[in-house]
Homo-oligomer: 190 residues x 2
Amino acid sequence: MHTSIAKHIQNHIHPSAIDMQKIFSILNEVSVSKGAFLLKPGTRVKHEYFVVKGCLKAYYMDGKGSKHILQFAVENWWIGDFEAFYNQGNSNLYIEAIEDAQLLSINHDALQVLYEDAPIFERYFRILITKAFISQQKRILSTQEKHTQERYLDFCKSYPSIENRVANYDIANYLGVTPENLSRVRKTLK
Amino acid sequence: MHTSIAKHIQNHIHPSAIDMQKIFSILNEVSVSKGAFLLKPGTRVKHEYFVVKGCLKAYYMDGKGSKHILQFAVENWWIGDFEAFYNQGNSNLYIEAIEDAQLLSINHDALQVLYEDAPIFERYFRILITKAFISQQKRILSTQEKHTQERYLDFCKSYPSIENRVANYDIANYLGVTPENLSRVRKTLK
DNA sequence: TATCCCAATTGATATAGGTCAATGAGATTA
DNA sequence: TAATCTCATTGACCTATATCAATTGGGATA
């Protein structure tokens, strides 16, 4: 169960065997079935999740009842409500399984202890959040610079592993356009 | 010169006096005059900058020659091309002073040594990038959820210290709309 | 004071994408 | 097989914002 996360960690930092034991000891296995929720708004956020198997989406529901997908996650991605996790507040997001999923959860308080005990993980999560920051920055630029067609093509190119696992209306939502618009754009690409 | 950054650091972590000496020893003072550039595309990015005094903007110039402001920075903010700094690649951004500015620069290689030598700073920068990630996430949601008027009002509320120091066409650019559109929106608010 | 320069505003028009409503098509269930 | 259900597509129309082109206004400079 820990093979994939071990590899992911070792791709980013060089922990000792003891460090690895320490993080393994605070990870817990979680399963979610397709269509079920890992997180709903109003819940106190105590965990972030590493995806071992499956596919999920994290979305915000605004005051008018519209969804806005912030993130998809497939194998070897972390997912969570990072804002609420950081602030230790209540969630604003839904996290829903698009496919049956197996995850590893890490608890907030245990993570703070781990940071003291094995500071190398401070680096691991710093690197991950930095990469996430960089891709968000690209997403912001992409939205301002490009029209739907180009953004859709970029999405398919950047996330081929996601494009064929999620519905087009979810891709449209992630891109910030309507399913109708994406459908018309796709038509011109055929 | 180090007073403001010392305070900023101590607002986020609890370093020893020795830790503080260590980070001070790798900070360098930099000045930029209004209208001058701290960074231009194609330059190897070796530094990030803490703003002691002044106001700056970081923007990307796309293939069609349109600017896209990613970030403003005033006193006590960090600014830089975080992507190129992280990847140690060439810059894609312009960083331009909107007012005469005094900055403290931190060198990439010196920072890596500092991380080994005083790991508490791994935490400091992890926290800062996490906060930056959170505000970017809000910016993405805001763009998808709200029209110009509401985004403009949010901007003024969130960044009162910036709103009255930068030109409206720069605010419009940051919001991803034209100056004409922002002007019309502002008219309806009077 | 008069002259520049920008930024801001205003007007007229164009367009990408949204909204609403209906239809199709593939998969699942009775 | 028939009946659902869900997602994708298509059509007609609407709207927020972009674009292009003047014009205005206020601060700096000669």
